[in-house]
Symmetry: C2
Subunit: 248 residues, 2 copies
């Protein structure tokens, strides 16, 4: 499993991801799931990946080599963000291994799941920024002011904090803190999501992904964040109204 979250606010985009990969309970490793593609001043994108690692690594490699080879279609060639998203969707679909039996009648083939999903966000000069979630079949949905965040992977544990506080008018740094809290909630409840974490910010109009941050378990900021959060939650519970019988 994996957990990646993107938040779109008026101030820009926040991207956060864990780095744990595993095959069942085994073979636990660290692999980057947050990928930056940028041409500062011209265009900047971040892609977050969840699902089959061979699939997502192949897709990321293709995105890079299409640029390096000067292909007709690449992250650098499109004029509009929605075209970029469609192109990334095509690359994603083409990167998923197809088994022979996928064409047979049985739709429930056993064996590994080669599917993957992505979050893609960014900005091209002259356009507003945008944040999209790409399904494994290549179609996409966009974040909006009413639904300012998108998630892939193990999404449930980290959703309540976002539902309560993620909003279009968050400062970008507050949105980044919410993304980290959402990841922390997920890591506490699901062993397959783990440190270190990657964080990236793309400010509206900056056309550059900056800053980016890798948070290790031992980093003082992470320790301090968790401690302060626990303390703040405890205070928030203490501030809740008393039950009728407690007032007696």
């Amino acid at each position: 499993m994996t957990y990646c979250v993107g938040i779109a606010t008026a101030a820009g985009l926040v991207f956060a991801a864990d780095t744990r990969t595993n095959a069942s309970h085994d073979n636990v490793r660290i692999h980057r799931k947050l990928h930056v593609f940028q041409w500062p001043g011209e265009r900047a994108f971040v892609v977050l990946t969840a699902g089959n690692l061979a699939t997502t690594q192949l897709a990321m490699a293709r995105l890079r080599t299409d640029v390096d080879d000067g292909a007709e279609h690449s992250l650098r060639t499109f004029r509009h963000l929605h075209q970029v998203v469609s192109y990334v969707g095509e690359v994603l679909v083409q990167s998923q291994l197809r088994r022979p039996e996928d064409n047979a009648e049985s739709s429930e083939a056993d064996g590994p799941d080669f599917g993957a999903s992505l979050l893609v966000g960014g900005q091209i000069a002259g356009e507003p920024p945008g944040l999209y979630m790409l399904y494994s079949i290549g179609n996409a949905i966009a974040a909006s002011p009413e639904t300012p965040y998108l998630q892939i992977g193990e999404t449930k544990y980290g959703k309540p904090i976002l539902d309560r506080l993620a909003a279009d008018d968050n400062t970008l740094e507050d949105a980044a803190r919410l993304a980290l809290l959402s990841l922390d909630a997920t890591m506490r409840s699901n062993l397959s999501v783990g440190m270190p974490l990657d964080l990236a910010l793309l400010r509206t109009g900056a056309l550059a992904v900056e800053p980016t941050l890798r948070l290790e378990r031992e980093s003082p900021m992470w320790e301090q964040m968790r401690t302060q959060w626990s303390l703040g939650l405890r205070r928030a519970v203490e501030g809740l109204p008393r039950f009728p019988w407690e007032q007696a």
Copy 2:
């Protein structure tokens, strides 16, 4: 779906449940899932139910009629709580309709799922209180000081707040507030979990379930609780450490 949670602290037991039932997206109704069985001063139990409604209603009816009929085995006859839990497990298993094909080779029978799971907690005079989760096949696990809460139904959204704050040394009222927050988080994210909520407390040694509370969406206490919680969370986020670049 459903969401029920029980918390076991040194001070006693807390039980909380939503009341929404549904068949897919349809036929949304209100049914009580928190059931009290008590003989004050002698023994007191609370049962929370999740899963097939016909199954859980039949199981609850059997628990009551076994008592009313003076059956050899009933909630009133056992000397020890773990025996009560085994008995409730047997009643649960017997209340699940078995389809003819359950005996055939195919283990993936289509059609409705008659399974159900329960949380059972209580105290018998002379014993400490206990909280158990009963699986649909009748076996059970108990809460403990290290793992002071148990959940059934849609468990993920409401887990992070419990993981952070539920503890053996919570006051019973604080544990009750955590249970309600856990339910609120779940209701915000999952349409199949809904108001009103039922809450019941069983204080260690009291041998009576008291107080119990039904919270309606319009109840001033519930409104106030949600408002205060959002405010408290916002303050907790504001109290988090700044990123290095914010301090510059």
